[in-house]
């Protein structure tokens, strides 16, 4: 299916209102979709210090706010992440703590609060098996936490090699390799040798490796885990790749290399980028627009190149802070979060 040949558009399915301040992030519950026989669930977090859980009714197909997680964080909740089992939701807050909430269906209970960062926690990410959690902060450090029995979490590592505020952490989709990106303009890769090894920084992707020239805001991997996209205040998206087969088979770390830079498409900071299961890259930027990119599949060019599939102007009334594709195949639903206080659900559809 060549997406470029179809005449596609991004259709707004619904606008989710409720937050009373900007919405920073959204996260799809990984185990819920109509295909699973379970209603899709989305979490959103905000400058109003709360997290809202939204659910789509299988009957009416409309989204409603099922519950509000409040009175726990005392400042902005900056990002949230579901554990792979969908049973837990981690919330990262400017109050310096990370909340762990247990999903009891219609209710959520905060079962643990992770403390340790010296100031605002910016991002939280679970590894593929759910055994590790990573957090990062303006205190320049990345922490790795291990889940123990009885809702206890142990700090397994404090990684302090970034020289500035760390904006996001993201575990690789299949391997226990951690990636972080920062106000110091770099992306760092953290890897531990063998089973008992300590995590250490094995690679830094900076300007000298064709990296970004300003704050890197987000990282997203493709489904196969052999490519990633990063977005920056430098108004570019960069695509990076590695030899994933070699990495998975061997004991040695295989470095990531720059494959392609998408420049000239954005004229404000790009806050978010997300790679869908069917290989569409969505970006959310400070010009209120959402853009979709696809691999041009042009064999004449050295390495991959990407084309702009579509640009949705005024997707929101203000900056788009986060874009996230739903996990379920075939759905092609996209959720977005904005400074305008809204969450929106979109669908990619062929123009009539």
């Amino acid at each position: 299916m060549d997406l470029m040949e179809k005449n596609l558009e991004l259709v707004e399915i619904q606008k989710l209102e409720g937050h009373t301040d900007r919405v920073w992030s959204v996260a799809w519950n990984p185990v819920s979709s109509h295909a699973d026989g379970v209603s899709p669930i989305l979490a959103s977090c905000s400058g109003d210090n709360t997290v809202r859980i939204w659910e789509q009714s299988s009957l009416s197909r409309s989204w409603t706010c099922k519950t509000v997680l409040e009175e726990t964080h005392t400042r902005t909740v900056r990002s949230c992440a579901w554990s792979p089992s969908g049973e837990l939701l981690a919330t990262a807050s400017f109050d310096g703590t990370t909340g762990i909430w247990k999903n009891y269906g219609s209710e959520f209970e905060c079962v643990a609060t992770l403390e340790g960062h010296e100031n605002e926690v910016k991002s939280v990410s679970w590894n593929a098996s759910g055994s590790y959690l990573a957090t990062c902060s303006r205190d320049k450090s990345v922490w790795i936490w291990e889940g123990l029995e009885g809702n206890e979490y142990d700090c397994a590592a404090v990684l302090s090699e970034h020289t500035q505020d760390v904006k996001m952490v993201q575990w690789h989709p299949t391997m226990d390799v951690l990636f972080s990106c920062s106000y110091d303009d770099t992306i760092k890769v953290w890897w531990s040798q063998g089973d008992d090894g300590e995590f250490e920084c094995v690679q830094t992707l900076g300007e000298s490796n064709n990296g970004h020239s300003s704050t890197v805001w987000a990282i997203s991997f493709n489904a196969a885990g052999d490519k990633m996209v990063t977005c920056s205040d430098d108004r570019t998206l960069k695509i990076w790749g590695t030899d994933i087969a070699r990495m998975q088979s061997g004991e040695e770390y295989v470095p990531w290399t720059h494959l392609c830079t998408l420049s000239g498409y954005h004229d404000r900071t790009i806050y978010s980028a997300h790679w869908s299961r069917d290989d569409i890259i969505a970006s959310g930027a400070g010009d209120d627009a959402i853009r979709l990119f696809v691999d041009s599949k042009d064999d004449s060019v050295d390495g991959p190149s990407y084309n702009l599939l579509l640009k949705k102007n005024k997707a929101h009334d203000n900056d788009v802070n986060c874009v996230q594709w739903s996990r379920s195949e075939g759905d092609q639903l996209l959720a977005s979060a904005s400074d305008d206080g809204m969450v929106k659900i979109w669908q990619v559809a062929t123009k009539p």
Binding site: G47, T76, F94, N119, K122, D165, R268, D288, D317
Partner: protein, 155 residues
């Protein structure tokens, strides 16, 4: 180490006479007039001294430029000294004041005037990282200082 103010002897301008602006002076019906924006910010009080940013020549009418097509506002301010550690506070005050007054969709970029600060790039980067700005404004001490500076003309 000297205790006390960063700049103990600022140069203070007399308060500029306010021109009464008539309907004809309106720049455009639907756009934003840079002079309107200047009105919002000229009386912000300096964090260290009991004078306005205008009186200290931190701001002037030339500080504000507007791109009507893109709905973007650029403010350049001149800290009183090269090593002014209040530069980021002044930037926060400017944003806080404008947040109240401007329609949502306007984009505001705040920079120090070129050559006016020793850490120009570093200050500019901080002032325009909205996540850093948001977190700073949640700090009660900073928020209080900013509020005192931006509401002083209403006391």
């Amino acid at each position: 180490m000297t205790l006390g103010l960063i700049n103990a002897n600022p140069v203070v301008q007399a308060k500029k006479e306010r021109l009464v602006r008539t309907q004809e002076d309106q720049y455009r019906d639907d756009g934003v007039d840079p002079l309107d924006i200047y009105e919002y910010v000229r009386d912000i009080r300096d964090p260290e001294h009991p004078y306005t940013l205008e009186q200290l020549s931190v701001l002037s009418e030339e500080s504000v430029t507007v791109d009507d097509k893109l709905d973007r506002i650029l403010i350049k301010f001149t800290p009183t000294v090269q090593h002014c550690s209040m530069a980021t506070i002044i930037g926060l005050c400017l944003r806080a004041k404008l947040n109240e007054r401007l329609p949502l969709h306007y984009k505001v970029d705040i920079l120090v005037s070129p050559g006016s600060h020793a850490d120009e790039d570093s200050v500019n980067k901080q002032l325009n990282d909205k996540e850093r700005v948001a977190a700073a404004m949640e700090n009660p001490n900073l928020r209080q200082l900013v509020d005192e500076c931006i509401f002083s003309d209403e006391i």
